[in-house]
Amino acid sequence: MIRTLFATTLGLLAFPLGGLKTAQDKPLVLQEDLSWNNWTAWKHFLVPSSADRIFEKIPWIPSFGAGILQAQKQGMPLLLWVMNGHPLGCT
């Protein structure tokens, strides 16, 4: 049964979205399936570039308290980044 389900899955991955319309009142329809033929291309589109992710090179510490303790230990000031959407994944 899994084999059958999987075999039909790719055919089902294109779904018309006729009920949804764009601002120009045109139906929003996916032009093509998500398939293994275009999977890598979409992956590369989705993954941010190295330049976009350069902030990850900073050795961020994931908690304020741990940062204070490390700054104290190293005798350095602390850079604190506070917001929703900050680099560590809190959106």
């Binding site: 899994i2 084999r3 389900l5 999987f6 899955t9 790719l10 089902l12 991955l13 294109a14 779904f15 979205l17 949804l20 319309k21 764009t22 601002a23 929003l28 996916l30 032009q31 399936d33 998500l34 398939s35 293994w36 275009n38 999977w39 291309a41 979409w42 992956k43 590369h44 589109f45 989705l46 993954v47 941010p48 976009d52 990850e56 050795p59 961020w60 510490i61 994931p62 908690s63 308290g65 204070i68 303790l69 700054a71 104290q72 005798g75 350095m76 000031p77 602390l78 850079l79 604190l80 980044w81 506070v82 917001m83 929703n84 959407g85 680099p87 560590l88 994944g89 809190c90 959106t91």
Partner: protein, 289 residues
Amino acid sequence: MADHGHYQAAGGTRQGIYVMAPGGRLLSSINALDPHAVQKTLEKGLAEWNRLPGEFRKLPAGLHLDLGNRWETSFPKRGLVLVSFNRDLPADNDPRSPARGGWNRDHVWFSPSEVLEFLPQDQALGPGTGRKLPRPLVDRLVRFHLVDNVNGQTLPFAEEEVQGSWIISRVEAVKDHFVFLRLAGRTMAEAKGPWLMGRNDWTPEKEWPRGIKTALLGKAVFDLRRKAFTAFELVAKGVRWGRTQVNGRRDSTPGPIGFYFNLAPDRPSDRVAPAFIDLYNAGWVPKRR
């Protein structure tokens, strides 16, 4: 400390960048997207640090800093930790399109026992064997991670708002102690309006009808000896509609959206809990922090 910063008053948001001494003295702060302005703030903070007498640099002697009980305490060490990247897809549906807007990221957590649920349960592992993932695992992705936070903070979906969603995991090959899997599925979540998840930090002040529908394809490699994934990639492609208060959508016009999930690196910064951890459908994460 923050009350003396760029907002100059107590209350309200504290978003921004602060340079401070471990002892609590504010050295400089700003809330800006301009890298040059931020750089000047950092330089100012460093200059203030160099002028700061030593006794003001450190925590008071004898003060014990209790780091408290954080969500990160539940980090699933031998589970599956993914990083997700979410962004809008091009209107022409061409992945080669150079037009790429903003993106956002999050982490996904699965416990060690949940990891085993990705494999066939009642049959010997072999090519063609597989299973539908249990509803709770699918729900975790649909409710908390296949959400429109590309441009800003958004809301999760309630369990009742998940419709007709499924993910199949199928064994492609077994080589030594490695199992090669393919994943495929469809998801749909729609919130008609009323908030269904009770009173919590996310409870909105008004109704935000919205939805997301996706198709997913992925591949993964599972190490039977370590009982862990050594590779995991999942692409979700679909459409979103509606909006929430601060997710940066001007109106409810539908648009294409995509998600990519991958194994998170082993860095301290990748131990940050998922955005909606306080609502996670995971009994192994204690709710009160």
